[in-house]
Amino acid sequence: MDEPDRMLEQTGSALERALLHEGRAYLGPADLRAKTLAALGLAGTASLATGGALAWLSAKTWATKLLLTLSAASVLVGIPVGYFALRHSPAPVLRPAEVPAPPTNPAATVVPPTNADTPVPAPAVTPPAGITTMSSARASGGGGSASSALRAELAALDAARSTLASGDSVGALSFLDAYFRTFPRGRLRPEAEVLRMDALARGGRTDDARKYAQEFLRRHPNSVLAARVQSFAKP
């Protein structure tokens, strides 16, 4: 059976051709891939599509991988890795109902993970002079495009996910707290919230995870993540 020619290969009116072109040209929103990967729990350094991603894959140790992840994020948003290395404060305690508020101080703090068994509130920390944080970089307009901000979000979530996968739920919560402070209106915020539920549950704080999940479902009853959240919301 012969295939008929496509209509665009035939002669047609200008309007007909414009309509057919439009039908073929649609690609969806620019951040569709990143959001889809995040919804699947695959947001990671590979999403950065840089040479750094290859370095990450080839790194042999978890610590090196984490450092490279942070480096990629910091390159994108202007945070020296040394700042992370200097930070050894314990993780802050977050209750499920406490959806992190936008930072009152633009110099948002980023706290590294800790292996402490019991979370301890982190002291307020002011970054050393000369340190540019994610928030201040964006506020000053020096943070680059929306896509670089999204890559930074992905890297931040990947750091939290890697930490959680290694069994350090408290460290993962610290990374997530940093994410919420740095990206108060982040595009991947729902994914970060689900990750937090997971971290709370794995850390034994199932009641907190459940309350947080129920609150999430109340706010986003039709979210594509609702099915995953339901598993945390059940008593």
Binding site: M1, R24, Y26
Partner: protein, 209 residues
């Protein structure tokens, strides 16, 4: 390598086994190994097909504002059944799921209009001049209107053939209908499409003249 049985599913539900020869013992599908291998496969599928899925959804009737959510739903569905989907049959699975999702989206949108506004869908202004029609958004709205007036079965075949540039054999396999039916639906869809475009053009000329 472990295997699981390929299962039969009702028509118009996603058929993970579609359009691919069996691999391994008859009736069995190879099970994907390891978490990292699975994640790599999923990531590659997103990389290769995310735009494709978005376009199918859009041309099949999903509103622009809902594309994000529906694309994610399609890939979540794939993720949930990844172990049942034959290597190489993922595209078929994604197309079927996207079409199913778009049908659901159209029904939901229709209900929303009935309940909330009691208004018909937005109609393209036929007196828009050539300059306006050149505007991309106006073109998209016109295309949405024309496709929205087609019967669903014609619209699907038309979109897969003209926009996705699939062959009639591929469409036949994905929709599980005879190839002759694909060809006849395509012919009818093209006639409808051209008639509606001509009508818009003549209305525009009448108003301008």
């Amino acid at each position: 390598m472990s295997y699981l049985l390929a299962t039969d599913t009702p028509a118009y539900r996603c058929r993970p086994e579609v359009a691919l020869p069996l691999v391994g013992p008859a009736g069995m599908v190879p099970r994907v190994a390891g978490k990292s291998e699975r994640e790599l496969r999923l990531r590659q599928l997103v990389d290769n097909h995310v735009g494709h899925v978005a376009r199918i959804l859009r041309n099949a009737g999903t509103a622009d504002a809902d594309i994000d959510d529906d694309v994610q739903r399609v890939f979540i569905a794939l993720s949930n059944r990844l172990d049942d989907v034959r290597m190489g049959a993922e595209r078929s699975f994604l197309i079927q799921t996207a079409l199913h999702m778009a049908a659901h989206s159209r029904r939901t949108a229709a209900r929303r209009r009935e309940i909330l506004t009691d208004q018909p869908p937005e109609v393209v202004d036929p007196i828009a001049g050539p300059e306006e029609m050149a505007n991309r958004r106006q073109v998209r709205r016109t295309l949405d209107q024309i496709l929205g007036q087609m019967e669903t079965e014609l619209r699907v075949v038309f979109s897969l053939y003209e926009f996705e540039q699939m062959t009639t054999a591929e469409i036949s396999a994905v929709l599980d209908i005879p190839r002759g039916t694909v060809a006849s639906r395509l012919r009818r869809a093209r006639v409808e499409f051209r008639e509606r475009v001509s009508r818009l053009e003549s209305l525009s000329k009448t108003e301008v003249g």
